[in-house]
Symmetry: D2
Subunit: 394 residues, 4 copies
């Protein structure tokens, strides 16, 4: 069986390969969500009398079968299937005949894919929320073990004032908690049901019930305007990647700090050897590759954010195939953030602090500000006190 | 009087010019907020007995005087003043002598500038919220005038199904309302008081009262961790610019549509002539420059967002002078968005629709989907109905 | 056998998986180049008497065997092999024993991978040069068929002056020829041998002959400074992606034009049906997906360029594992550009022009400028002539 | 006198302000180049008999007068003048009457502004070439003073092998020399005369002589296709900013190194005190602000590059007002790079090295690779030697 939009003229295979791109691979993770959307959609079609009770039961049974097959890795989308939508509809028609041909009533692939994507995004955002919480827990663990240790605090990459493991660790905990808020706002923004808006101009003739599918699928609200549904493709993805970039911003800084504080000449942090790598020429090296790669992923997420926000640039309203690209971009974003958070959490938990070295590095100039404030306490105006102490360091 | 950090060795003037950059110009808009922060800070210093009642009164009086002068454009920061902080402190010392030298007790320029910036950001975000609401109102006006007019709806830049001015206009209203939510989340995120965190490692010896200044300045909560306060520089700015980019995303699409629908061969929209520009060689041209420039501003905001998110990349925790750059970036972002929204609101309100031309463009193929659904209504399975109608267009 | 840098402590498998990333997949395309570099390196080691004639022959024989296996797809790098370097060295040791252990003398994986990458980059740039030339040939074909057809020329997305298929097509030919120059400059820039610079600080004790390997490998010159060799990682890749972005800039504009001129209400260009796709809801649609996807790839290349230029940001000199990311970025860039050029060339060649429709669209206002110049020819000063004609269009 | 494209309907002042933007300020630096182009254009008009000998003399005289006034700062473009073209043409008409009205014969503002911009770009690129050479000279100076000093070389931000001031400095010299090549390629690419292509569709009726103006203006070649001339706007600017980004890439790394090597705990480099700045709270600080700001400018140039490459995204061929934005972007790019190179050259020249500290930091592990090679020299296969030495560091 062929594409859902099959035409008389045989399409050119080179063009098909180029336009399908990686869709057939990417869509594998959408099969489950596509089935969930189709089940809700079928229930709604039954409610408005487009599908009979029996037809509904048949369709739901086959869709659940597909989800089962998919879970076991037996529902593989191949390049000739084009994507998950085609594969699923074809499977339904094969199993149910004419009944299968009714499933696409009252929807377009445009709202169908957005529906599946939104459900998928919501699951991924929840997963990432968990991973952020697990990184917070790892940092807490680490802080708990070393909280009393004082370390030098830096500004302008040079010693400034006394800091501590507690201050250091908690700065990231507070940062990540802000990220959780950003994640939540993003989740709330995209938690809108696009199902029932067709190709961006609604469904003519038929009276469909968008509130019902919204409820069945657990969306917070209906995204009303069909054209906005299409125009929000790229925009919502931009919001998601912006949220992810904030997490990676903090991971970048955390990693930068760990690399800096663990270098030989600093030696305050110690990355356990099983988490380091060596060099093919320098036998002494114990490199912090895991943090370097984690650090670099911020650039990756930033460029993905930029890309997803660039694709729809200067295009008029309504769907354009360009927007298909946004799928791969967000998937890559989710995968990257999940992998990074997961490995970082593990290593941060095991991080060690060299207390002696920390002490050695608490050199005099770190206490200059304290000395100023001791004078202030004795009544010297701040600016005077500052000048007096400055003399000592000139 | 000199810089707050003046050293014995005379700094090189070329270096001073390069490092001050545009700060002395940019800071002009911070004078007001810097004074507000200093007033709150002084009240807190009085509360913890660092300043006497009289000293407080003196300081507050001079700070209010500065705000008054600034309002009248008489408190000009010059390049030799370096920035608003230095200029204000010097002014205080000049007027109050030793008392002025106490104002910097318990703070650093690092938390001081962040405090002023946050207040300023909050005001700008509120201003932009107003402008978004005013654009929504303009679109509503426009829709009200032409709501019954049907127009062609496009996908893939070609005619798809019947749309309408109402559908078109409301898509942007719903989009902009989502933007208002994003703005609000951003506002909530940054609504944290940084005052009292010094240079990122707290204030030693002195017991300052951060909750008190928070309350006085109207912040929603205290940003606890001093190092996070510094590390959030760049991050919060990134969030702001990401929110602005979402607004400009919608402005870009709105402008793209208006340019497209108003071109001669389409002719549905008409931009009143007083809002168009001509050509120096082609006497017939009436160009939509205002929407082209509005459209291009999305690229500007995107690149500013990228820049502000890039500056802190791979830097360790704690302040770096690199972060100073973020000030100019956000200022440019605010100005650009405000100017664009303001002019666009004005023109959209006056936009005209050529009803005859709209009718002419409602050609047959726009109704193909409707024909499919009429068959579906008569019991033909969707996919069959689709194939029957397809025959007619092959 | 293990990693080249194997340590006593067993590395954590999660960390290994994260740090290896996709290297084991990406490196498959480097096997050939890695062998070529190793052959040249071995010959040089023989020349400076580190390898005997027999050892050299043994090594070269096995490396050629690997190249043969690789060509047949039988030298698969698995995740436990880490990357091509490890896999190849292990294979050599397995086949040759102690002799295999000598191949890494006088080099590090740092210069080794750069050497293989440069050879690979050079091949890809040559391949892309061919594809650009083939797109030029396709456009020429198209222009040849329709060169006499006049079409409207647009500025500000509205009709400006008379243009022609010839003018249109030749604009892209001239643009692509500039791209060929940019490609050539990039090729020349990166055509430098990095082999023999070790990990960025040269090879101690041993006197290696860098000119000899340079000559054997066909590099134009030696990249002298070992630290610059490492620091140019990211920079050279940035240059490559910048060159690719210029090609995609032109492809973006070409695609935008074709989409615009082929939409129903314009109808000048016609994309043969076998190169279009349909809609799952609208039976009449013939969509230009191939050009929409081609158009979107400019955003992809731009974001890859940005990413590769961002990764090394703010890092000190010398190799960092972050730079490993640049490999994937450039590979993705090459693949994207090659696929796009190849499919676009095919479709452009078959593009049709509807001459009647083109004529219909040559409406009066397109000749306004011509009318001005006719007056000018009769002695009216240009600005006067402009004003006279302008009257007619007000 | 009014705009060159003035229409009957009075344009809205708010729209005028928005569309003019900063053009009237930016164009100040184009006055000179605009006059040069106009002089060449007038000479060509005389050659093809559009202007008489007397008319030509009159026009050239006034244009030279404008250049003189401009040099003295007395030819100020005000907002009501719109831009340099309008101001100059109005001035000509005021002085010469009808003769002035002839200067715009055979050109549009589109090719006129591109002509002025190209000449300006060429001058700026030459200026930047000089500044790069001057930075090279400063580094040479520095290397000369300290060339024998050994310092630790880093990979993965940890000690790797022995390096030296010579190796360090020369890496940047070689890098900057590559940048000079890139600058030269960019110069060659844009060295094309756009004059005589009108608004993108040529000049009708009149036979103009493009080779003649090309020769007069010193362009290397004529940019033939009029539509490509317009389409290359954004593209050439992208090439320029990409070249600038490569320079700033090296400045970023140079600055990162200097900040790193001059921090207290490293102490190898010393930035003379007159080039450092202090802190308002910490009296001991001597901060490397000049290098931090220099470092941050890479992000600025990168985001400008991105922006200029984004503006034309997805737009059809032919001029769009969006492209006007590219002017400001490139100007900002040139200014930023010039300022940064100039100040950095000055400071690098005066940089000091603490030889004792450098010696102290040459700790044992830096010699591990050397020890391996000593074993290799005695006949131990490299991989064996590596393992033997590795034992010592485990």
């Amino acid at each position: 069986m062929g594409k859902l939009w099959e035409k008389k003229t045989k399409p050119d295979p080179h063009v098909i390969k180029f336009t399908v791109g990686k869709d057939y691979i990417l869509d594998q993770r959408l099969v489950k969500y596509d089935c969930l959307c189709s089940i809700a959609h079928a229930k709604m079609l039954n409610r408005i009398s487009v599908l009979s009770e029996d037809e509904l039961l048949g369709i739901v049974k086959v869709l659940k079968e597909i989800m089962e097959l998919d879970k076991e890795g037996k529902f593989k989308i191949e390049i000739q299937d084009e994507d998950s939508h085609t594969k699923i509809e074809n499977f339904l028609v094969q199993k149910l005949g004419d009944v299968g041909k009714k499933i696409h009533t009252g929807r377009s692939r445009n709202d169908q894919v957005l529906c599946a994507l939104r459900l998928y995004y919501k699951d991924e955002l929840k997963e990432i929320e968990k991973l952020v919480n697990s990184l917070i827990a790892s940092i807490k663990d680490f802080v708990e073990r070393y909280k009393k240790v004082k370390i030098p605090g830096f500004t302008h990459t040079r010693k400034a004032m006394v800091s501590s493991i507690k201050l250091w660790g908690e700065s990231f905990i507070e940062a990540l908690r802000d990220d959780l808020k950003i994640l939540k706002s993003t989740f709330n923004l995209i938690d809108q049901s696009p199902l029932g808006t067709g190709a961006g101009y609604g469904i003519p003739v038929l009276k469909i019930d968008r509130n019902y599918t919204k409820k069945l699928l657990g969306f917070k609200r209906v995204q009303r305007n069909p054209m906005y549904v299409q125009n929000s493709r790229g925009k919502f993805e931009g919001e998601i990647l912006s949220a992810l970039s904030m997490i990676m911003y903090d991971v970048n800084k955390l990693s930068s700090d760990i690399i800096f504080f663990s270098m030989g000449d600093m030696g305050i942090f110690k990355i356990p050897e099983e988490f380091t790598t060596g060099s093919s020429i320098m036998p002494h090296k114990k490199n912090p590759d895991v943090f370097e790669i984690a650090r670099s992923k911020y650039s990756k997420i930033l460029s993905l954010e930029m890309r997803v926000k660039m694709v729809p640039l200067n295009l008029i309203s309504g769907y354009h195939r360009d927007l298909q690209e946004t799928k791969e971009i967000v998937f890559e974003g989710f995968d990257t953030v999940k992998e990074t958070l997961s490995v970082i959490s593990k290593v941060v938990k095991k991080l060690k602090v060299n207390k002696e070295r920390a002490k050695e590095l608490l050199t005099g100039e770190l206490f200059a500000t304290e000395q100023v404030y001791k004078l202030v306490k004795n009544g010297v105006p701040f600016r005077e006190a500052y000048k007096i102490i400055k003399e000592k360091y000139s």
